[in-house]
C-alpha cells in the first residue's frame, strides 16, 4: 500500500505480505524492531527467538524523507512501506489487542497458540516508582510537512511569475480534454506546461505532449492525490520559462486532493453535467477548497436532466465565495471566459514578479551607490 494515502489498504499490505516469516510465534515477544524509521531501505527485524528476517522495501512516502526518497517521483516505483511490513508481521500474531488499543503493555495474546504472555514486552523495562513521565508540547500541524513543501513551490512560482492552478475533479469529468483545448487556444499567447497526476500510465501526459506543450507525468501508484513534494520534483524536471502558466492535473478524485496544498494559486474543481448536480453536497471538502468551479460538457445539457441552477446553489452552500463558469471543451462554448480568467491570473503573477525584480534592482542600485561613497 502506498503511504501517501490509505486507498490501497488491504491489497498489498495484508495479503501482499509475501516475504518469508519463519517465526512461529512461540516467541517470548520481546520484539526488538530494529527499524527506527530513519528509513533504510532494507531493514532487519530480530525477534527474541533469534529469528531474523530482513526485507527490502521500496516505499513511496508522500511525506518528507526528502533526502532519501527520490525514487517515488522519478522511477515510478510504488512499493509499500515499513509500517505495513511490520504490522503485517503482527497480523500473524498479536494484532487483535494492539488494534483495539487495549492495554497490551501487560499482556500479549497469540492467536496461533492461544497463549497469553505477561510482562515480556519492552513496555516493562521500567521499574515501578521510577517513572520518568513527562509531557512534551508539540502543537504541529499534521500536514505541516506537505505545507512546507507547498510554501517552497509557491515561492518558486512567485519568483518566476508562474501562475499555477490545481485542477481537481472526479475521473472522467474531462480535465485532460479541457487542458488540451486550453493549450491549443493559448498558443502564441502564453507558455503552458502541465504536471499530470494519475495512478498509472502516461496516457494523459502523452496527450498533452502531442499539443507541443511540455508535460511531466507523476504516477502515484496506489496514492489518490498529488502532494507538494511530488510537484516539487516534477518542477525540477520541467523547464518552465518565467511568466508561464502551470496546469497541475490532479488524480481524478473528489476527496483526498482537497487537503493537499501544492503551492498553487487556485484549486479549480471541474464538474461535468453528466455527473449528479448534488456532488458539491456529497463531496463538500473539495468544493470548499476550490476557488473556481467549471461546469463542463454543457453542450450535452439538452440531453440530460441536469439542473444547473440547483448545482450552483449546492456549490454555494458549501462555499459561498466559489466562482462558477459553464463551458464545453468539446464545442468551445464558454472557453473565452476560462482563458480570460487564466490570462488575468498570469498577468498578476507576471506583474508581481516584475515588481519584485524592480525592488531588487533598486536595492542593488542603492548598495552600489553606498559602495561608491565608501570607496570615495
Amino acid at each position: 500500500m502506498c503511504t501517501v494515502c490509505g486507498c490501497g489498504q488491504g491489497e498489498t499490505r495484508i495479503e501482499g505480505h509475501d516475504h518469508e516469516h519463519p517465526h512461529d510465534h512461540a516467541h517470548p515477544h520481546a520484539h526488538e524492531h530494529g527499524h527506527d524509521h530513519a528509513h533504510e531501505h532494507a531493514h532487519e527485524h530480530t525477534h527474541a527467538d533469534g529469528v531474523t528476517h530482513s526485507h527490502p522495501h521500496p516505499h513511496s512516502h508522500g511525506h518528507e524523507h526528502a533526502h532519501v526518497h527520490e525514487h517515488s517521483h522519478t522511477g515510478h516505483e510504488h512499493g509499500h512501506d515499513h509500517l505495513h511490513d511490520d504490522s503485517a508481521a503482527h497480523e500473524h500474531g498479536h494484532d487483535t489487542l494492539h488494534a483495539t488499543g487495549a492495554p497490551h503493555d501487560h499482556m500479549h495474546y497469540h492467536q496461533h497458540t492461544g497463549d497469553l504472555h505477561y510482562g515480556l514486552g519492552p513496555a516493562h523495562a521500567h521499574a515501578p516508582g521510577l517513572s520518568q513521565e513527562r509531557m512534551v508540547r508539540i502543537e504541529q500541524d499534521i500536514l505541516g510537512k506537505n505545507n512546507a513543501y507547498a510554501d517552497g513551490n509557491r515561492k518558486h512560482f512567485a519568483e518566476h511569475g508562474i501562475f499555477a492552478v490545481n485542477l481537481v475533479s472526479s475521473p472522467g469529468s474531462g480535465k485532460t480534454t479541457l487542458l488540451v483545448k486550453t493549450i491549443e487556444m493559448l498558443k502564441g499567447q502564453a507558455p503552458v506546461a502541465v504536471v499530470e497526476g494519475d495512478q498509472q500510465t502516461s496516457h494523459d501526459a502523452d496527450r498533452i505532449r502531442a499539443t507541443g506543450a511540455p508535460a511531466i507525468q507523476v504516477n502515484t501508484g496506489k496514492g489518490c492525490h498529488l502532494d507538494a513534494h511530488m510537484v516539487g520534483h516534477a518542477l525540477e524536471r520541467l523547464t518552465l520559462p518565467d511568466d508561464s502558466l502551470l496546469m497541475i492535473e490532479n488524480v481524478g478524485n473528489l476527496v483526498c486532493p482537497a487537503a493537499f496544498d501544492l503551492g498553487e494559486a487556485h484549486k479549480v474543481v471541474i464538474l461535468s453535467v453528466t455527473e449528479g448536480e448534488d456532488k458539491p453536497l456529497k463531496y463538500p471538502d473539495m468544493f470548499n477548497a476550490a476557488d473556481l468551479m467549471i461546469l463542463n460538457k454543457v453542450d450535452l445539457l439538452p440531453y440530460l436532466n441536469f439542473d444547473v441552477a440547483k448545482c450552483v446553489e449546492y456549490a454555494h452552500r458549501v462555499n459561498p465565495k466559489l466562482e462558477v463558469m459553464q463551458l464545453s471543451a468539446t464545442s468551445g462554448a464558454g472557453m473565452e471566459e476560462w482563458l480570460g480568467w487564466l490570462m488575468a491570473g498570469l498577468g498578476q503573477a507576471k506583474s508581481a514578479r516584475q515588481q519584485n525584480v524592480d525592488l531588487l534592482r533598486k536595492r542593488i542600485a542603492e548598495l552600489e551607490a553606498k559602495l561608491a561613497n565608501s570607496q570615495g
Partner: protein, 113 residues
C-alpha cells in the same frame, strides 16, 4: 479521507520529536481534529493503532480532541457554530457561511517517558 496518510504523518512528527528530545517511549498522543477537517475520527483511530505498532509509540493511548466547527455568516455578520461545511446558518437559515474554525488537524502533545 486519507486517514492512513495522516496517521503516517503523525507518527513521523512523534518520531522526529523522540529523536530530538531523546525519549524512549510514548505513552499517550493527543491530537486536535477539527469537525470541518474532513477527517473520519473512527478511521484515523484505527489507522493510528496500525501505524504505531513497532514504533516508539507502540501501544500508546491516542486521545482525539474534537474541535467544534465555526463559520462566519455573511448575512448575520456574526460567527456561528457549524457542524458541516454545507450546513446553513443556525440564526438565519442561509448558506452564506464561510468556515472559519474547526478545520485544524494538529498533534497537540505527548506523554513520554
Amino acid at each position: 479521507m486519507h486517514e492512513m496518510s495522516l496517521a503516517e504523518s503523525i507518527l513521523e512528527i512523534v518520531e522526529d520529536t523522540a529523536r530530538k528530545q531523546g525519549f524512549a517511549r510514548v505513552k499517550e498522543v493527543r491530537l486536535e481534529i477539527g469537525a470541518l477537517s474532513g477527517v473520519e475520527i473512527e478511521a484515523l483511530s484505527f489507522c493510528m493503532d496500525v501505524v504505531l505498532n513497532g514504533s516508539v509509540a507502540e501501544g500508546a493511548r491516542v486521545e482525539l480532541e474534537r474541535v467544534p466547527g465555526t463559520g462566519w455568516c455573511m448575512q448575520c455578520g456574526v460567527s456561528v457554530a457549524l457542524d458541516a461545511l454545507y450546513d446553513p446558518c443556525p440564526r438565519c437559515g442561509g448558506y452564506q457561511v464561510q468556515a472559519t474554525g474547526g478545520t485544524e488537524m494538529r498533534v497537540k502533545d505527548l506523554l513520554v517517558e
